[in-house]
């Protein structure tokens, strides 16, 4: 068939491009990864690319285009970054491009070769396809001396991105609302949490738990709390994949979304979820019209910025019955270099500078810096000395990378999509005949079928 020919041709082309670019930029990993991808011989493991240091910086020159999702600060903060970057790398000209709907727009552009030099790795691109689009940044075993969170975008031991910030997920709440409701202790278990929501409903005018149903993507934030409910950093990538019973009673997924279902059923959510508005919900939480929202740390800064009294905005881990409380740390977008970049050295220099020296991860990013040993953000200092631990998720077993994603897509469950969360809320408020157990059973059946297919195929 003609197509196979074209594909082979394309693969050969990728290999060649990889070879040339590899030679040009003393970056042996490029050769390596491209060769592995194209099915050629792998050769010996290459050394990691070191970030250019000292005088070498002066030799790097060229124009690079950095594509970002931050339309809000591209013309202000990013301009300052570029100026600071130029102090160190005077011969690199940095251009910025901000996309308002990053994920969708970049995905379309990636079908061409013109998608900037430095960009965020779209989460919707299958992990195994990353080597086709992104320059290898180095071996994970080397880079991990310096950074955390690399495992999310690593293929065959080679890392393709470094997180721009590391988020932690849980409940963002208004302390004043809790005080007014007479809740003095931060709820820890499911029962304590639901009791707290009920007292908010009884004693204040605030919405106890705002779901942000209409925005949709906000519901996906719940999924990040799975590890807290499981109380186990290995559950998400290892335990889940090994189980046919992902959504049965007693399992983390069942317990996690039961909180959502019960809150909706007991009328503890907004009056009309179908017409919620994300932008105004931030202000409402900041000013005491909303008690809690399930979000990531990235939202804290935005909400505090809208609050009359920023100290009212607090963070607590998602409730759990697990023995210890684990707040999962997970990557925000990863920053990587396009395989089609003409100035890969300059692009790489920007990546390293942005993560290490710009200050973005903690200031604008609002989370933790991926650089090991960096200082914790202010809001987390209150947890120092408690039994609450912050930890990244354990990576998948070797050979099982990307399975969660593959099973999820095959089954059309959408762990990171709003759909089944919306169904749960609709069922809870009586718009659907299904019970919570019906929904969970359906999801589990889908999971089981898809898992069988993926496990046998690999």
């Amino acid at each position: 068939m003609k197509k196979t020919k074209a594909v082979t041709g394309l693969a050969a082309l990728t290999l060649m491009a990889g070879l040339f670019s590899g030679c040009a930029s003393d970056n042996n990993n490029a050769t390596n990864a491209a060769a592995t991808k194209a099915g050629g011989n792998t050769g010996t493991a290459a050394e990691a690319t070191a970030a250019p240091e000292g005088d070498a910086a002066k030799d790097i020159k060229g124009d690079i285009t950095v594509i970002t999702q931050r339309t809000d600060i591209v013309d202000t903060v990013f301009k300052d970054y570029a100026a600071k970057f130029n102090e160190k790398y005077p011969d690199v000209k940095v251009n910025f491009e901000a996309l308002s709907n990053y994920e969708d727009q970049i995905k379309i552009r990636m079908s061409t070769s013109d998608y900037g030099d430095v960009l965020l790795l779209p989460t919707s691109v299958a992990i195994k396809d990353l080597p086709d689009f992104f320059e290898p940044l180095g071996k994970k075993s080397d880079l991990e001396q310096q950074y955390t969170g690399l495992e999310e975008r690593t293929v065959d031991g080679i890392s393709y991105g470094i997180p721009i910030t590391v988020n932690f997920s849980g409940v963002i709440y208004n302390k004043q609302v809790f005080k007014d409701a007479g809740v003095t202790e931060v709820p820890r278990t499911f029962d304590q949490f639901s009791a707290a929501l009920k007292s908010i409903k009884e004693k204040t005018d605030a919405v106890p738990l705002y779901t942000n149903y209409a925005a949709g993507w906000t519901l996906t934030q719940w999924e990040a709390d799975l590890a807290t409910v499981a109380g186990d950093r290995e559950y998400v990538n290892i335990g889940q994949v090994a189980s046919d019973d992902n959504f049965v009673p007693g399992q983390p997924h069942y317990e996690l979304y039961k909180v959502m279902y019960d809150a909706a059923k007991d009328g503890l959510i907004e009056e009309d979820p179908t017409t919620t508005d994300w932008e105004s919900s931030k202000a409402d939480l900041a000013n005491g019209k909303i008690g809690t929202m399930m979000l990531g740390s990235w939202a804290i800064g935005q909400i505090k910025g809208l609050a009359a009294n920023p100290d009212d905005v607090g963070f607590m881990p998602f409730p759990t019955n697990a023995g210890k409380i684990l707040v999962p740390l997970s990557d925000d977008y990863n920053l990587g270099v396009s395989i089609h970049s003409k100035n890969k050295e300059a692009a790489r220099a920007w990546v390293d500078w942005f993560i290490n020296e710009s200050g973005y991860p903690t200031t604008e990013g609002g989370g933790m810096s991926p650089v090991k040993g960096a200082e914790l953000p202010e809001i987390l200092k209150q947890f120092a000395g408690t039994d609450i631990t912050f930890d990244t998720l354990a990576p998948a077993k070797a050979g099982e990378e990307g399975w969660v994603d593959a099973i999820d897509k095959e089954a059309e469950i959408g762990l990171w999509q709003p759909d089944f969360k919306k169904v749960i809320i609709e069922a809870a408020i009586g718009n659907r005949k299904q019970s919570y157990d019906d929904i969970m059973k359906e999801l589990n059946d889908k999971w089981k079928t898809a898992r069988a297919k993926i496990v046998t195929a690999k």
Binding site: M110, D129, Y213, D272, K409, P418, K422, E426, N431
Partner: protein
């Protein structure tokens, strides 16, 4: 160098026609036929939309769609829009007829009615989202009119959501139908009306015996457009509810499959099936309407 004036008139004409058609034909091929051709091609693969390798899997995608009833269950929602189509055409015809006679501020009314067609569909989605909020425009108006008892949560109630959305759709597309009807009605000579008035016909008679028969063809055309529109409803429910709460349509489902679950091959197969359905309905309508004569 050959001069244009040296060519025969006939050849000049051919050349000009060719050159002028080149641009639209190239545009048509690139942006209509090539994508459709590609869509057919993708529908036989398990492509995820980005991967460099495309695996050919024959008719598996079609098999999946036809063996899973949930893919077709959403066509129920299209029925709401199908019935709304008749309301839309009725209203359009009513306003077109009235405004084809001498009415005060005629052009102003025409503008008002056509205006929604000019708006961006996404903007309309947001306008109506606000309109249907519990404390939004519709409920406020009902309250002011003393009809507070009729207040509803228009998008929350599963019995009302599709009717509410279909209403927004009628508002959006009626202007287009209206302008087509108005054009057709305007083409009827004024002497016919004058003659009928002398014979003692009133407005209703004129409508029944002059306007309707004269615009029959246009009515059929609008009907075909409206029905295929009802099958392919997309932007209003997508923008307003994202297809949640039982308002999902086949096209929304297709988009979800393609971009949420990265199954571009399967989604292409769904699009091919939708195309097939629209073609089928159109052919059926043409046959049925012809037989009526």
């Amino acid at each position: 160098m050959p001069k244009l004036s040296n060519m025969s008139y006939k050849n000049q004409r051919i050349l000009i026609i060719f050159l002028f058609s080149l641009v639209p034909v190239v545009l048509l091929l690139t942006f209509s036929y090539l994508p459709v051709f590609k869509m057919f091609q993708y529908s036989f693969t398990s492509w995820n939309g980005l991967s460099k390798n495309m695996e050919y899997i024959g008719f598996d995608n079609y098999k999946t769609i036809f063996t899973k009833p949930e893919y077709f269950a959403v066509f129920k929602v299209s029925l709401y829009y199908f019935f709304a189509t008749f309301v839309q055409m009725g209203l359009a015809l009513y306003f077109a007829t009235i405004l084809s006679f001498n009415v005060r501020m005629k052009n102003w009314f025409k503008g008002i009615l056509f205006f929604p067609t000019l708006l961006n569909g996404v903007a309309i989605g947001f306008i109506f989202l606000f309109f249907f909020k519990p404390e939004g425009t519709l409920n406020t108006i009902l309250d002011l009119l003393g009809l507070g008892v009729l207040q509803q949560k228009w998008l929350l109630n599963p019995q009302l959501i599709n009717i509410s959305l279909a209403f927004a759709s009628v508002w959006r597309y009626m202007g287009m139908n209206f302008i087509i009807f108005l054009g057709a009605i305007s083409s009827i000579g004024s002497d016919i009306y004058e003659a009928s008035e002398i014979d003692g016909a009133n407005r209703w008679h004129q409508f029944r015996h002059i306007i309707i028969p004269s615009i029959k063809r246009i009515l059929q055309l609008n009907l075909i457009l409206a029905v295929s529109g009802a099958i392919g409803v997309f932007e209003i429910p997508y923008v307003m509810t994202g297809g949640s709460n039982g308002s999902g349509t086949f096209v929304i489902q297709t988009v979800d499959v393609a971009f949420k679950y990265s199954k571009l091959g399967l989604a292409s197969a769904m699009a091919v099936i939708l195309l097939g359905i629209v073609v089928l309905v159109t052919i059926l309508q043409r046959i049925l309407i012809k037989e009526e004569k």
